[in-house]
């Protein structure tokens, strides 16, 4: 019997499909390769439009140049601090609320869920937020970055779904033994939830690592910037640099430096990515399937 899989049309399709997907992979990776090549190239080669996939005039000088800028390291350290503190706060808040929401018997549960979900579809907007953060006195402080996004409703719902899926018997047994709710959460529920906790830490850490706008909006001292704002100022400076009156040598240095700064900003994510990617996917699936 001739199966559908072996028909000529299907074989042709599989070849075409392989080619299309190879192109997708190439297009996705190309900008990364190009930027790494630029970061390792001589500035004159870049300016002459010679750098494409491989470095031309191979040099580490740009890396040395960026590494010798104390502001860069201050900003890099700020990013690490902001990410760690913000993730810790976010995990605490999200875990507490998700656990409460996962208790079906709780009176007022629907209302508590509604409070969170409504904010997914309606928000106060930029201006009232700006006025709020400013009048709380959070400008030029870490709180402007770590507090206003302490709970992502998406992450909250993922975690709630996970907690709902845990067997209730263990918790009931612990409660009968006289354990408090706090004890049950800390000693029974959390140890069973390591997978989802890891996923949530990753989700939050990546989003805080990448964020720039809050810092851009609320920070006016350059020693408080995260590295993303440092990079943003380089990038923006290069496009509008002519109006500021930067001379030609500054412009070419900026091209190199931009590439290096981009590479250094992305490297932590690229390094951990292959190992943690499946957790991200699991997290999304959990959120998608269980809602």
């Amino acid at each position: 019997m001739v199966t559908v899989d072996s028909t000529r049309g299907y074989r042709v399709f599989r070849v075409v499909n392989a080619v299309v997907l190879a192109v997708v992979v190439a297009v996705t990776l190309y900008p990364f390769v190009n930027i790494v090549a630029r970061s390792l190239s001589d500035e004159f080669a870049i300016r002459a439009g010679k750098v494409n996939l491989v470095p031309v005039g191979f040099t580490f000088r740009t890396y040395e140049y960026v590494a010798s800028d104390p502001t860069f390291w201050t900003n890099y350290r700020n990013t690490v601090v902001y990410t760690v503190v913000a993730t810790a706060i976010a995990m605490f808040m999200t875990t507490c609320y998700a656990y409460v929401l996962s208790k079906r018997h709780l009176k007022g549960r629907t209302f508590l869920i509604g409070i969170a979900v409504f904010t997914m579809f309606f928000s106060g907007g930029l201006i009232p937020n700006y006025i709020l953060i400013s009048s709380l006195g959070f400008r030029n402080s870490i709180w402007a970055i770590v507090l206003p996004n302490a709970i992502s409703v998406f992450n909250l719902l993922v975690m709630k779904a996970f907690f709902e899926g845990l067997p209730a018997e263990l918790e009931e047994a612990a409660a009968i033994d006289g354990m408090s709710t706090y004890g049950i959460l800390l000693r029974i529920v959390l140890p069973l939830s390591k997978a989802v906790l890891a996923t949530m830490v990753l989700f939050y850490a990546v989003s805080f690592w990448n964020s720039w706008f809050a810092a851009f909006l609320y920070m006016s001292q350059s020693d408080l910037f995260p590295v993303t704002v440092y990079l943003r100022n380089l990038v923006a400076g290069a496009t509008t640099g002519t109006s500021v009156g930067a001379d030609a040598t500054d412009m070419t240095v900026a091209t190199n430096i931009k590439a290096v700064t981009m590479v250094l900003t992305v490297i932590p994510i690229l390094v951990v990515y292959p190992f943690v990617q499946r957790y991200f996917v699991k997290g999304v699936m959990l959120g998608a399937v269980k809602g």
Binding site: V4, P31, I35, R38, N129, L132, N210, V266
Partner: protein
């Protein structure tokens, strides 16, 4: 936060399978608030800080929108000085710049929807046809990668790719054309915006569809094969209906965020030369409010945008519930 919000929430399949703690069976004894508090006070106490968070950082700003109808002075009262009614609303409705950015927003939003909503479906179907597990995993891993980049890095990459010495202009020169300063020319902005959006989101967008594809019953394919359906017809009659709930859910969510077109990306990529096509409502109100200190005027525009967003998501949800029976809640 522009990262994950567009992907969440259940496709209808999960929603239907959920057991409801309905009143019919196993009715929990009705409790008064006093009894509930006495029994569950520890649970409620865990909710105090998160509720405070939502109140302060989510609901206070909503209330703060009253300054759209009140005269606000920097340094004065947070809620404004005096009622001025619809003055600021009338002001932006009569402002030609507003209608310019409004139509830019609608155009960019529509183009994004048109290109970035269907492509993940196509890519997911193609990846699904790959046989080797490792090849498949590799393609997936690579395609998810851009999703994890900071918007600043994405904007930086776009600028480098399109710079005068960048690869696109190298290609143009090799073909004997003059280099183009893409980011300085208004007619290129939409193309740049939409294609970089596709580059960044298409892979991540496949996750939900690939998950939905694995839930399709193999017996349906078998039945179709026995009926003599070709591979193509199997896709049409089995695969596509199988991922429809997920697609509809994502469509509703996309429509809901339609007016909030990537504020951060536009802010990073545009410049006064490209304002005629690039300036959108959110960037306009950012410049009006925070750069020029017209807080009330900008808040009025922001409120208008938020209300349209909410109306869009509610009506998309309603239409989808009436027509295809899938809804977010």
């Amino acid at each position: 936060m522009s990262t994950t919000e567009a992907i969440g929430v259940s496709p209808g399949t999960g929603e239907q399978g959920r057991v409801r703690p309905g009143p019919s069976r196993a009715r929990p004894p009705r409790r008064t608030w006093r009894q509930a508090l006495r029994r569950d006070w520890q649970l409620y106490s865990l909710a105090v800080l998160p509720l405070l968070f939502f109140l302060v950082f989510r609901y206070l700003p909503m209330i703060g929108n009253v300054i759209a109808f009140r005269k606000f002075e920097p340094g004065g009262s947070v809620l404004g000085e005096e009622w001025v009614g619809l003055r600021y609303v009338k002001m932006f409705l009569n402002d030609p710049s507003f209608w310019q950015v409004f139509s830019n927003t609608v155009i960019i939003g529509l183009l994004t929807l048109l290109f970035c909503f269907p492509t993940p479906i196509v890519l997911a179907l193609l990846i699904n046809e790959l046989r080797g597990r490792r090849v498949r995993r590799f393609v997936q891993s690579v395609s998810y990668l851009p999703h994890f980049l900071s918007m600043v890095v994405v904007a930086g990459l776009v600028m480098e790719m399109l710079s005068v010495d960048g690869p696109v202009n190298q290609l143009l020169r090799a073909m004997g054309n003059d280099p183009v300063a893409f980011l300085q020319e208004a007619e290129w902005f939409r193309t740049i915006y939409v294609s970089s959006e596709m580059w960044q989101t298409v892979g991540w967008g496949t996750i939900i569809y690939l998950a939905a594809l694995t839930t399709i019953d193999d017996q349906l394919y078998e039945a179709a094969r026995i009926d003599g359906a070709s591979r193509w017809r199997q896709v049409w009659h089995v695969t596509l209906p199988g991922i429809r709930p997920a697609a509809v859910t994502l469509l509703i969510l996309n429509i809901g965020t339609f007016m909030a077109v990537g504020f951060e990306k536009v802010l990073l990529l545009y410049n006064p030369l490209t304002y005629p096509t690039a300036d959108v409502i959110s960037t306009y109100l950012y410049r009006m409010g925070i750069v020029s200190n017209s807080f009330s005027y900008a808040a009025a525009i922001g409120l208008f945008e938020a209300v349209i967003g909410l109306a869009l998501v509610l009506s998309a949800n309603l239409i989808s519930r009436r027509t295809v029976g899938t809804s977010l809640w």
